[in-house]
């Protein structure tokens, strides 16, 4: 299960968004990856996600593999679309 989404919040995929994203991702048992700019990072690692250094309007592809992959991708896409408001 995979979806691509655009970063909408002004500060980009930064410390706070990464923390909120990982918290949500960790609610799911599926393995979660985030791809951007040709690199793939662990979607459950705050440091890995921040190292992508993504600014507003960057596109990311969220991939989940596992029993709850559809719910995980939908929840994470929704979180990005809501500008990481938990």
């Amino acid at each position: 299960m995979q979806k691509t989404v655009r970063i909408l919040n002004e500060e980009g995929f930064h410390a706070r968004p990464a923390g909120v994203f990982v918290k949500k991702a960790s609610e799911f048992s599926s393995a979660i990856e985030v791809q951007a700019n040709g690199t793939t990072k662990n979607g459950k690692s705050i440091m890995a996600l921040m190292s992508l250094g993504l600014a507003k309007d960057a596109e990311i592809t969220i991939t989940a593999k596992g029993a709850d992959e559809a719910a995980a991708v939908d929840a994470l896409v929704d979180l990005v679309n809501r500008k990481f408001q938990a």
Partner: protein
């Protein structure tokens, strides 16, 4: 960082105060200099130079974030002395910043330092209170067996 220790739950930012980014401590700085608290590899320096990620040999990922809402300063007043991939020792200078500018432009100068991969952490113990200076032990993090 030289300044006064602040408990993480007193940091004026929900994500840090709620430990969403990990457990640790914060410093209300009295000088605009950040030196490395550990021997580590630099995992990343944010493009706006207001935060830095370190990874220790034991695998702890440490985020040092200068001020709150400083991302909006877009790098103004910040200067970094290291880059991703560098190896640093305790006491090496990582960042310098214009403290007066941060106080004027950001929500707060209070600077959290957290371990972001808490799955490795057994305990986080405060080792100091009040005013602290460079080179002083402020936090002891123990790894799970």
């Amino acid at each position: 960082m030289k300044g006064t220790l602040v408990a993480l739950d007193q940091v004026p930012d929900e994500a840090f105060a709620g430990k969403v980014l990990g457990d640790g401590i914060a410093i209300d700085p009295s000088e605009g200099v950040v030196v490395s608290p550990v021997d580590a590899d630099v995992a990343q320096v944010f493009r706006t130079h207001h935060a830095i990620g370190l990874v220790t040999a034991s695998g702890f990922e440490i985020l040092i974030h200068v001020g709150i809402d400083t991302v909006k300063m877009n790098g103004e007043g910040f200067r970094s002395f290291v880059k991703a991939g560098d190896k640093v020792k305790v006491g090496d200078k990582l960042l310098e910043f214009d403290l007066a500018l941060v106080k004027a432009k950001a929500k707060s100068a209070i600077s959290p330092m957290v371990v972001t991969n808490m799955d490795l952490v057994k305990s986080v113990e405060n080792r100091a209170q009040g005013a602290v200076t460079l080179g002083q032990e402020i936090l002891r993090v123990k790894k799970k067996d």
